[in-house]
């Protein structure tokens, strides 16, 4: 059981009333509520997963909650990041979250770290906390959170989501397996679309985040059986839960120090991406070509549902998966007939990938810088920042 010192902790009359439904539960009781109050939990990210789990941790009476996030609240977050509000758009997420948590439970100490978690600050940030909760959205940070937890011997409450599916477990708890036992390496960049590209059902992180909150509270209380050694899979469309065995892998190398996680995950540095990048064109050049009636073909490689949201006049939809799988390449070739090719997506990443594939098939084109979002900023205010 996690070593939590409750000798200096007491509950006021107001706190007794607030937590009365815990106090009358034999598995929690006064001693358990004191353990929660003495508990220190650090949550990485206040996004889809962090939002619901932080709300419940504060409501449950966890005494000290740390939050790490460097982002600001955006309108497109509000579909799932329920700790934030419309009035918080544009504010730092950690401030928006702290405000809400103290409204729920003023007895909670909320420490905010408005920084990006990096190898040079992770150990210092984690050291003072009992449990680390991973609510991040990318592979480099997930491996960093894992390794720092392994080095410091902290439990890592893990949750991850994609579209309609979620995964949850507890890593590095009571000599149990950790993230590298489950997945020794991350997929190369670009192989799996991110939530920003692939979308996510807003309620999904609610389910997974609340599972993470449940596991965190159980660890602090020292009750029940945690998900350590089990990977829980959730499918919202089928409304099914499955459980897989998760074991320590003897082949996993020991984690002894933090590394360069961007490099480990194969993410090229800025200086590496620029020279290799495909030829680009600005939205202003595109507008000038349109106004001059030039002969060009504008291909939109986003998904059909994104094309329904907004489009640039005259663009032809050929989704990136179509190009990746081959048929799209011939569609592009058939369209061109000697004309100049301009390719765009939402912000320029997928169109660059499409142009890389097309180049291998002998088709050369230009990438629209900043995608349809940049076009919207410059020429079409009706384009939503989706």
């Amino acid at each position: 059981m996690l070593n939590v010192d409750t000798s200096q902790v007491s509950l006021s009359r107001e706190e007794m009333e607030r937590f009365s439904r815990h106090l009358i539960l034999p598995e929690v009781g006064l001693e358990g509520q004191k353990r929660l109050k003495a508990g220190k939990v650090l949550c990485i990210g206040t996004g889809g997963l962090g939002s619901p789990l932080l709300l419940y941790l504060a409501a449950a009476g966890v005494g000290r909650i740390g939050i790490v996030d460097f982002d600001v609240v955006d309108t497109s977050n509000l579909q799932r990041q329920i700790i934030h509000s419309t009035s918080g758009v544009g504010k730092p997420k950690v401030e928006s979250a702290k405000h809400r948590l103290l409204e729920i439970n003023p007895y909670c100490q909320v420490d905010v770290y408005n920084v990006a978690l990096k190898a040079n600050n992770a150990l210092d940030l984690f050291r003072d906390y009992d449990v680390i909760v991973d609510g991040t959205d990318n592979f480099p940070t997930r491996y960093l959170v894992n390794d720092a937890c392994v080095i410091l011997g902290k439990p890592n409450v893990y949750g991850s989501i994609f579209r309609f599916e979620g995964q949850a477990t507890v890593f590095n708890y009571q000599d149990g397996p950790h993230y590298r036992d489950l997945y020794p390496e991350p997929p190369p960049p670009g192989l799996v679309p991110s939530c920003a590209e692939g979308g996510v059902l807003g309620i999904l992180p609610g389910i997974i985040g609340v599972i993470q909150a449940t596991e965190t509270v159980k660890i602090l209380l020292g009750v029940g059986t945690t998900l350590s050694g089990r990977l829980l899979l959730y499918d919202a469309l089928k409304m099914s839960f499955r459980e897989l065995k998760l074991r320590k892998n003897p082949a996993t190398p020991p984690v002894t120090e933090l590394i360069d996680y961007e490099q480990f995950c194969g993410i090229p540095t800025v200086s590496e991406t620029k020279p290799a990048a495909v030829e680009t064109i600005t939205v202003h050049d595109l507008k000038a070509r349109m106004d001059a009636g030039k002969d060009f073909v504008l291909v939109d490689v986003r998904n059909p549902n994104e094309y329904d949201i907004c489009r640039i006049p005259g663009s032809v939809l050929i989704p990136l998966p179509d190009i990746e799988q081959g048929p799209g390449i011939e569609k592009v070739r058939a369209l061109l007939n000697g004309a100049e090719l301009i390719v765009h997506c939402k912000s320029g990443m997928r169109s660059a990938r499409a142009l890389g594939i097309l180049a291998q098939a002998g088709i050369v084109g230009k990438n629209l810088e900043g995608g349809i979002l940049a076009w919207g900023d410059a020429y079409d205010p009706s384009v939503p920042k989706y």
Partner: protein
């Protein structure tokens, strides 16, 4: 005999959006090979050039990771079984 292979959301674009596929094969490796023969685009997501299961994809026979089975990929499948493909996903935070 045919076993059910469960396809996760990120890989369904490569299996005509099917969430489960019935595949013949005597071992895990044979079943994966037959799956890839039917859906060629799955290959780079599942296997390395050398034919090993990639490090960011786990294959389970029922609830057990094949890496932890004595015969690994060559584990014979003799009775009714469900093979699950479970890839690494990272979503959850700011994006």
């Amino acid at each position: 005999m045919a076993v059910t292979v469960l396809i996760p959301t990120p890989l369904r674009p490569y299996t005509d959006n099917l969430e489960a596929v019935e595949v013949e094969g005597e071992t895990v490796a044979a079943i994966l090979q037959n799956l890839i023969t039917r859906y060629g685009d799955l290959k780079r997501h599942l296997l390395t050039e050398g034919g090993q299961i990639r490090n960011f994809v786990n294959i389970y026979v029922n609830d057990e990771d094949v890496r932890h089975l004595e015969q690994g990929q060559h584990t014979p499948i003799t009775g009714p079984a469900v093979i699950s493909i479970v890839p690494s996903i990272a979503g959850g935070g700011h994006a």
